[in-house]
Amino acid sequence: MGMKFCGPKYSLCCGLTSAWGIIQLILMGVFFKIRSPALIEDLHIPEEAHHNQTTYLEAMNDSYDLIGTNCFIAAALYAGTLVVCSWQFWLNLKS
């Protein structure tokens, strides 16, 4: 019954990756939102913002916010993946 498109191993592997992704990406999102300096190397600051101090700070804050949001988006996508994978895994278990 149902639409089974993943094998047991594949769904398990995806499920584990998504669980990891959810945990790590949510944590990273929080750290970006609170502007953790440990992540400063991962920011994207355009070249033209380097000249002025205020523009630089603005660009930095924007980048922190944007990446933080992106992390949450990716975590949400992984949550979706996890749901699909667990459904598939459950189907595999039943059959």
């Binding site: 991962d42 101090q53 992106n70």
Partner: protein, 848 residues
């Protein structure tokens, strides 16, 4: 003392068994699994032993069971494994078992042969049905073409008028393999010179060949011919091509009748076939319920008779004599088992007799599922000499710890620990699932090691403050960037000044490394020095610990000479050079700093420890303080004198190790010879109850002792240096690991993070998956494996035993300091291991 520290004390025992009770006693001992029997007739080949017949019968039973199992598997019936462990059946039960298997096998064989016969019958009938159906078409065509009188065939025109009418054409119908058709046709044409007429038609659905069970494609053919000669010829050709011919009546009514008959017979056959199949299935299902237990029983019987074959026959008393190694602690249990065995058979009790021997007993470490994996690591290097100190208990801590120094990353540690914890958690269901997958078996066997390695890596990861190459700022960094905006906007890099209390709090980060280092540009320089120093420190502690263990070994074996002539100079040598080096490291860590007093520990005056140490060993002369320089050339007052003294002591240790032992041995030997002469040259001295083996062992060749000692000393002195360097691999691998994880983050995950816009979330989704799988594959699996191997190497090294002089050559790092590993393992006779092995063979066979 716990047996994990030393191997169990073993006793060689002689066992007198009555021939009636021998079987039951051995079976009890097999269940116990604490006795290693010695083969008392090694010269006798397998066919000349006493219980050959029984072993052969067991083999026969095993063969039958394997046949049954194959049949069961062919039908896809699951074999029930109840996990039950049946006792070894009594010898008289063996006959019952044999009868049962015989009956089952015969039944199955009969069913199979019946089924085959039925299938053949069925095939013939189907072919006949096809022939009737297809040929009907040919006949219809012929009759159809004959009906209009004008269009007559070629033959008819050649014949005289009066013979006109239906010509008596004979025909043969049959079935042939489809691929033979072209050759068949050509052969017919040539042999009969074109005087036969062949029609053929393919049978659409493939038929089953009853002999092989394969599906084959066949064709129906019908050959028309005239005259008997041609008929003979055609029939011969058909036979030659293995075509099956079927009688086919000429008259349409007969054919129709025959078709009806064939149809009813086919239906009947179908019901019979399905009933046969049902019967076979029933037989197999009932067999599948018991087959596991039968298998186990047969394996046990076979193992018992194999063991009995190793015994000596005592013809006079009608008994069997066995020799076996038994752990002394278990003598009671063995006695009890023997009593149970004799009670079962109701004969005279078995007698267990302890023998004295000079033979080296086997090494037996009692392990549980946790210590087993560690013991295996040690045994892979060499099984401990009997009663030698066993490094396994120390390895439980040192192995994961040295691994973790190299694998220090909290994130990777968590992944590894979770994997190990899952295997430990699901231990029972996982171990019940037997597979042939070697890699999985290795991982599963080392599940506790993996768990511990993961946990220790989490700890070192926190110390290094490294989580996927990022740092956690839990307690608040001690460094602050308190620079004005003016300064910030001009310079690209800043040096934080540890003397400035606005930039450095003065107290270090409370646990592990300061998170600030992870984002600083001189991170590598800092980690370099730190990791190199801790790896040297741990290496020296580890080696010194190994040397210290040799003291216990020497005391245990009462080799006082070794303590004074080897252990003490070894420790002195190590302390004077390398422990002093470690102390210099700590001295530098503690006393030098940004803010310091003047004099030796003035700021900026910290010397290079490496250079200091090299200068000490190369005996560089006293250094004066350079004029105009603030720094003292020495770290503390009197350093020069102390270093000279230590070096001299260390150098003195070398001749001490080299000469003392051979000299003392030589002197003892001389004294003994004098005493022998004084006693009248008898050659045998009673030395306070020492057994007679002692003098023989003492009479060693002095030359050999000298060479042995020389090599031992050189090995130790050179080894100390090279092993210290060898421990630097801790430093190298840990740096490499940290660097690799940083590169992976920077090259892969950063692409996902810094891609702008809100579509970045979706890109991050995919990039993260790539990063995660690369992390597992490269950093956890590959790096983990390499760190594991290096840790293993630090624990034991290649061993080269040169055969001529029995000298144990380069053995290194930890174990070489005390471990000889020249023993042989205790392999008890246990049903558990025998069954496991047999089962593994079965699994391997199935996987093929």
């Amino acid at each position: 003392m716990g047996s994990l520290f030393r191997s169990e004390e073993m006793a060689l025992c002689q066992l007198f068994l009555q021939s009636e009770s021998a079987y039951t006693c051995v079976s009890e001992l097999g269940e116990l699994g604490l006795v290693q029997f010695r083969d008392l007739n090694p010269d006798v080949n397998a066919f000349q032993r006493k219980f050959v017949n029984e072993v052969r019968r067991c083999d026969e039973m095993e063969r039958k069971l394997r046949y049954l199992e194959r049949e069961i598997r062919k039908d896809g019936i699951p074999v029930q494994d109840t996990g039950e462990n049946p006792e070894a059946p009594m010898p008289r039960e063996m006959i019952d078992l044999e009868a049962t298997f015989e009956k089952l096998e015969n039944e199955l064989k009969e069913v199979n042969s019946n089924a085959e016969a039925l299938k053949r019958n069925y095939l013939e009938l189907t072919e006949l049905r096809h022939i009737l159906k297809k040929t009907q078409g040919f006949f219809d065509e012929r009759e159809g073409s004959m009906e209009p009188g004008g269009q007559t065939s070629l033959t008819q025109n050649l014949l005289p008028e009066d013979t006109k009418g239906p010509i008596q054409l004979g025909f043969v119908a049959g079935v042939i393999l489809r691929e033979r058709i072209p050759a068949f046709e050509r052969m017919l044409w040539r042999a009969c010179r074109g005087n036969v007429f062949l029609r053929q038609s393919e049978i659409e659905d493939p038929l089953e060949d009853p002999a092989t069970g394969e599906q084959v494609l066949k064709s129906v053919f019908i050959i028309f011919f005239q005259g008997d000669q041609l008929k003979m010829r055609v029939k011969k050709i058909c036979e030659g091509f293995r075509a099956t011919m079927y009688p086919c009546p000429e008259a349409p009514a007969d054919r129709r009748e025959m078709a009806m008959g064939v149809k009813t017979r086919l239906d009947d056959l179908n019901t019979v076939l399905s009933q046969t199949q049902d019967h076979r299935h029933r037989v197999l299902v009932s067999a599948s319920r018991n087959i596991r237990i039968w298998m186990m029983k047969v394996w046990k019987i076979k193992a018992i008779y194999h063991t009995l074959n190793m015994f000596n026959l005592d013809v006079i008393q009608n008994g069997l004599i066995a020799e076996c190694w038994i752990p002394v602690a278990d003598l009671e249990t063995v006695q009890l088992a023997l009593r149970r065995g004799t009670e079962k058979s109701g004969s005279l009790p078995a007698i267990l007799n302890r023998l004295t021997t000079i033979e080296a007993p086997p090494t037996f470490h009692r392990t549980n599922k946790f210590t087993k994996a560690f013991q295996n690591l040690i045994d892979a290097y060499g099984v401990a000499t009997y009663r030698e100190i066993n490094p396994a208990p120390y390895t439980i801590i040192t192995f994961p710890f040295l691994f973790a120094i190299m694998f220090g990353d909290f994130g990777h540690g968590v992944v590894m620990a979770l994997f190990g914890a899952w295997m430990v958690w699901k231990e029972k269901p996982l171990s019940a699932k037997k597979t042939d997958n070697e890699i999985w078996n290795i991982f599963f066997g080392g599940r506790y090691i993996i768990l511990l390695m993961g946990l220790f890596s989490m700890y070192t990861g926190l110390i290094y403050n490294d989580i996927f190459s990022k740092a956690l700022n839990i307690f608040g960094s001690s460094w602050h960037v308190s620079l004005s905006d003016e300064e910030l906007s001009h310079e690209k890099e800043f040096m934080l000044d540890p003397t400035n209390d606005k930039q450095y709090e003065g107290a270090p980060y409370p646990f592990g490394l300061d998170p600030m280092w992870q984002i600083s540009t001189n991170k590598i320089n800092f980690f370099n020095s730190y990791k190199m120093k801790i790896s040297i420190t741990f290496g020296i502690i580890h080696m010194l610990f190994g040397v210290a263990l040799s003291l216990w070994n020497n005391r245990f074996f009462q080799k006082t000479l070794n303590i004074y002539c080897e252990f003490i100079p070894q420790v002195l040598f190590m302390c004077c050079l390398f422990v002093y080096l470690v102390m210099l490291v700590f001295h530098k860590w503690v006393w030098y700093g940004g803010v310091g007093s003047s004099g030796e520990t003035a700021p900026g005056c910290a010397p290079s420890i490496l250079i200091t140490f090299i200068n000490m060993v190369l005996m560089k002369g006293y250094e004066e303080k350079k004029p105009g320089s603030v720094c003292e050339p020495y770290m503390y007052a009197g350093q020069f004198g102390l270093q000279r003294f230590l070096l001299v002591v260390a150098l003195l240790c070398v001749p001490w190790m080299l000469i003392a032992k051979p000299y003392l041995m030589h002197r003892n030997q001389k004294r003994r010879q004098m005493m022998v002469q004084a006693n009248g040259g008898e050659g045998v001295i009673e030395e306070g109850g020492v057994t007679a083996e002692a003098p023989a062992a003492e009479q060693e060749d002095m030359g050999e002792v000298m060479i042995h000692q020389g090599i031992h000393t050189i090995e130790y002195v050179l080894g100390s240096v090279s092993h210290t360097a060898s421990y630097l691999r801790l430093w190298a691998l840990s740096l490499a690991h940290a660097q690799l994880s940083e590169v992976l983050w920077g090259m892969v995950l950063r692409i996902g993070l810094s891609s702008g816009g809100h579509s970045g979330g979706i890109i991050l989704y995919f990039i993260f998956a790539a990063w995660a799988s690369l992390t597992i594959a490269i950093l956890v699996l590959m790096e983990g494996l390499s760190a594991f191997l290096h840790t293993l190497r630090l624990h034991w090294e290649r061993k080269e035993v040169s055969k001529e002089s029995r000298i144990v050559g380069t053995r290194v790092e930890f174990q070489s300091k005390f471990y000889y590993g020249m023993g042989y393992a205790f392999i008890p006779f246990a049903f558990e291991t025998i069954l496991e092995q047999a089962e593994e063979n079965v699994v391997a066979e199935q996987c093929k």
